[in-house]
Symmetry: D2
Amino acid sequence: MADDRAIAPVRMAMVGGGPDSFIGPVHRMGAELDRRIRLVAGAFSSDAARSRSTGLGYGLDEDRIYSDWRAMLAAERTRPDGAELVAIVTPNHLHLPVALAAIAAGFHVASDKPATATLAEALELQRALEGSGSVYALTYTYSGYPMVRRARAMVASGAIGTVRKVVVQYPQGWLATPIEQQGDKQAAWRTDPQRAGVGGCIGDIGVHAFHLAEFVSGLHVDQFVADLAATVPGRTLDDDCNLLLRFGGGARGVLIASQISTGEGNDLSLHIYGSKAGLIWHHDEASRLTVRHADGRMEVLQAGAGPQGMGARLPAGHPEGFIEAFGNIYCDVADAIRGQRELIDDRVPGIKAGVRSMRFVEQAVMASAQGAGWVALERDGA
Amino acid sequence: MADDRAIAPVRMAMVGGGPDSFIGPVHRMGAELDRRIRLVAGAFSSDAARSRSTGLGYGLDEDRIYSDWRAMLAAERTRPDGAELVAIVTPNHLHLPVALAAIAAGFHVASDKPATATLAEALELQRALEGSGSVYALTYTYSGYPMVRRARAMVASGAIGTVRKVVVQYPQGWLATPIEQQGDKQAAWRTDPQRAGVGGCIGDIGVHAFHLAEFVSGLHVDQFVADLAATVPGRTLDDDCNLLLRFGGGARGVLIASQISTGEGNDLSLHIYGSKAGLIWHHDEASRLTVRHADGRMEVLQAGAGPQGMGARLPAGHPEGFIEAFGNIYCDVADAIRGQRELIDDRVPGIKAGVRSMRFVEQAVMASAQGAGWVALERDGA
Amino acid sequence: MADDRAIAPVRMAMVGGGPDSFIGPVHRMGAELDRRIRLVAGAFSSDAARSRSTGLGYGLDEDRIYSDWRAMLAAERTRPDGAELVAIVTPNHLHLPVALAAIAAGFHVASDKPATATLAEALELQRALEGSGSVYALTYTYSGYPMVRRARAMVASGAIGTVRKVVVQYPQGWLATPIEQQGDKQAAWRTDPQRAGVGGCIGDIGVHAFHLAEFVSGLHVDQFVADLAATVPGRTLDDDCNLLLRFGGGARGVLIASQISTGEGNDLSLHIYGSKAGLIWHHDEASRLTVRHADGRMEVLQAGAGPQGMGARLPAGHPEGFIEAFGNIYCDVADAIRGQRELIDDRVPGIKAGVRSMRFVEQAVMASAQGAGWVALERDGA
Amino acid sequence: MADDRAIAPVRMAMVGGGPDSFIGPVHRMGAELDRRIRLVAGAFSSDAARSRSTGLGYGLDEDRIYSDWRAMLAAERTRPDGAELVAIVTPNHLHLPVALAAIAAGFHVASDKPATATLAEALELQRALEGSGSVYALTYTYSGYPMVRRARAMVASGAIGTVRKVVVQYPQGWLATPIEQQGDKQAAWRTDPQRAGVGGCIGDIGVHAFHLAEFVSGLHVDQFVADLAATVPGRTLDDDCNLLLRFGGGARGVLIASQISTGEGNDLSLHIYGSKAGLIWHHDEASRLTVRHADGRMEVLQAGAGPQGMGARLPAGHPEGFIEAFGNIYCDVADAIRGQRELIDDRVPGIKAGVRSMRFVEQAVMASAQGAGWVALERDGA
């Protein structure tokens, strides 16, 4: 902030995020929270009236509200004040075509997870990014939380000793009944293989859990057993996932992701146990991190206290949440666009994480369908 | 959002909020969160370099970054794109002069609490507002939380029966040691009668507790006994406050506000008991509201589930916090400025709440100093 | 346990504790938990059939089940295997006559709180105890909890610095409706001045809160303001109590005891803040003690871990509760009877605490009735 | 209790439970808590001095304190006041010989888990029990908790709909370091295959988790994948267990049992999700049961409120714990001995549960060692 010129915000266009969207507004609020990014254009819906309504609600100029994202990319790339960054918040099947077109047109990309609908698509996207100048970021939300970042830093510093066990759980209950047959749009596309891709729950929230486990532990899953089920009658995609994990180095773990855990909201949790201490984080108490020491001591660390640089904006006791976590990721995206490319694939998930997640999704779906036991999860050349 | 034109955001200028400010950035982020308001100018500090640094950090045009708030008001009132709303985030002693000047110049005002440094000042401000066209709002943060608004609605609807007891507690620990003597700027002005006004802790956070109790219960405090102490050696203003309350209609209560509750963060809490049920809210779990029924049933209500209109942006399980609570208040401020004046003094605290709070502060300070027992709290003509 | 002879348990007789009693069985279970005491006789009810039913349920010999407690005392004092200790678990108005008779007959006494129905009675009891050889203990339950004892030890050791603030709260909701008019026996005698004595809620649970505050802080309440209310129509005794406290040495505090806090169970809590740290204990999480340090660190201590001698029987993570807390007090009673008289008035409340509590009750009731402000609480020659 | 004669308590002898025992005293306190059972004899240790010290500490007659459990069985069977019930609280390898001898001599048996050290032993025990008149009970502690029993009743009543998912987790950290090499006796025998049997963690606490899952869900595990690890160098038995489960009827689940979850105490938890609601129970908050409804409502049920017959002795808000849970099981044991044999294998685990658990342990150990995938868990003729 001690610069001698105003910091020009990164100009952002959004694809998706129309009137019924949950995640579109979150991207918008998070991206703009710190004034590092500014929404300037959007193709919020292919229905012109719906897109217009959303854009006007944001106060956008009418001529920068589009119903065709291809038209938007074409128009924005030539404007002197045109968007630099494209946020993709559509159903999964559009992630690839939008991202490819955006990259081809020279935009940077921030995409909601999962990277694509299939592994093949993710690999295609990876190839497209090679040699391009585009920053590509995947919004694995939970990696933006201050106490997740602090947990990761503690593990990396050796504070908990050698990691031995990682349990990650993501219980949701909103798909416990077949609401996709009752007009719920969010449920409809997520349970539709044409729009969601190969994975249901595993692709929707399993990837969050998978990323969180690797992000904080600093380890890679090498083997797994997957049991994925389509529990609610009428579904073809999984809505409940249970996996055993083995990490490189010998740590073991469990991953649970479920959308039929009736009544549950969004309490993603991580338990990571090392030879010296254990760390426990729950999304329902996102500003806290519990440390359990081998000698029985139990500490509760709080966001806003302790080391700087974890992303807390406010002192301890002033709750921050989901939007702020998005904000932290988008700050890093802005920094990456403005030059700090090294943030991508380190603190901010990029296409590597995208490919890895899709490989995980696809192998898990296949292994489960085959009733397989232990399966090796391939590592991409890293 | 279904309007046919873009919604023009309210243009805001800020007074205060320089590099060391805690609350300035919160006002900025909250105000802008929903794109209803846009910061366009600021006099962030009387030190030109510090003000400039802050303003450039926000990406403001250099010519709209001021070091003299009077100059800012003069300049902004004449610009066609000038600010409409002035946010006051200075130490308390400047609340009145800035507000008076802003009102005189035709601006709307959103002021941090307390309204002013003394009751006399609050009454002067009230007179200035009479007949002016200015919207005046006081950011009693906690009234912006969805579950506080839901508690209020439940009480008003009779869901808990007749209110009998109200316990409001605001424990902080950050002034447990004399950090004002060790260079802490936030502590320095709050413990200085010249800048803080007549109340220390009572004016800083006691007013939050007082407002919350009346806001949710719908009752007025009629009598109280106050025990205010300057605990840490060297202080003249109170840093610890304990009060018994009696409300109109016969309910009783307790108000605790403390800044020497060592180790405590910011866990303001409200317990309100009616003849049918009790409601419990804690800032540390701001997205939850516990309902305890006379028959023993215990329910936990969550923000983002249940009735609309309480201010939750996200579905249950996605934590929102302090910034979002500010955002809710600022949305109402924008609505009020754009025509819905009735929101002020109803859902959004205005000068009435300001005068009432300052009367409370001043009477509490005086009664405590005199060792008085029960004291009647005057009601302003309402 | 390394002695060379069997440890003979203290033989106990019980007065009160018939079929509808809540606290009688708790005394019995607590007293016998560690095999230091054995129930051998009882006058559980003045209704012979009810007393017999209770006694047979405990497996007592028929000839040691009485309906007249005077007859029991007469008989047991002359048996070679007669009771040594009398547990008094009747409504308050019988505490004095039973205790006086028991002491006169050479028994030791363990009495439920409050000591007596009035201060005059407590003083009479104190005189009777002087020069007698009887051990007299008051079962202030909460002083038996391991984490309460640990908190007390921490305060005494200086671990939290100088005590500045003590907030004790005892919210219950079971008398929020007039259940005493609907056949509830527990409510009937507690709301009846003839059986409960001068205090309602203040005598029933306010004394627990008062004792806990002094027990842990090591301080004495010197002054208070009391606001006691009979909230539910038809009551003459208080059912809701709010008090401001000032302790010797300058600490301040608040005491809340309520039986109309609708929906609340029995979550007595203590917050005690010193110049270095704060301690927080809640009965709902009785096996934990939270320590909040001035530097922001927050620790959670657990019963069964840490220093010995606090009364935990089991390692951390194995919950103990109300019965075990009674057991800890009764262990001390047994030790006192077997020779360690110094435990009484130190770790175990005796008649000093009884007189002090009744003075507190009577002064609080009177001061509140008079609408008094600050009142000095007399200290008994200690 | 309304009988016309005193209820004679069941006379109990104990094998094991000497000076260093954790669980022996818990059995003793639990068994005696409700005066349904009375410890009259014991062979607490094969070291005569240690056994004597323990027995005298309990106030036992010297002639009923033994160092040889065979001698005890011989002596007690012939005394007119001899023990009727033998409590087995030894290391696992002694469970079978003591139980067989006790049954042969006509005693009833209450054994700590696991039933035996191996499946073959459990089957041998089962054969011995057939045709004998002995009651045999296994103290799966957690099945004695009121809220576990309530959860089971709710599931059985259809309150949560069809069970779809069961997650049971038992994290402990006390074996995170090799304390068995540092003189810890509890750790020494549990990590020694000669004394613990085929399973380490899986036999010690995994069986608790397994039993809890089946007990509450009313379902049987039909298939599993097991990943058991001996994490701490030097161990041959497992200290960390992760399993995927499939239940009859199609429900899926996860079982985690670990003794290297550093810093964890004993917070066994159960999450069970049905088509209508989810139930969540944590040992750390054993007196509460959370119900999460499909429509988003969240209720917290409390022990001591609600339906009778779940085993709570005290009204809501008065915590009960581990000893009381044992007490509930022992009450049922006493009832079974006094005639209600049907309680065994229904509410109280008997040899069926014992055989089943040992089959689970042995198959899990074997399958994990082989790196197997899905394995069928055989059902015993039920």
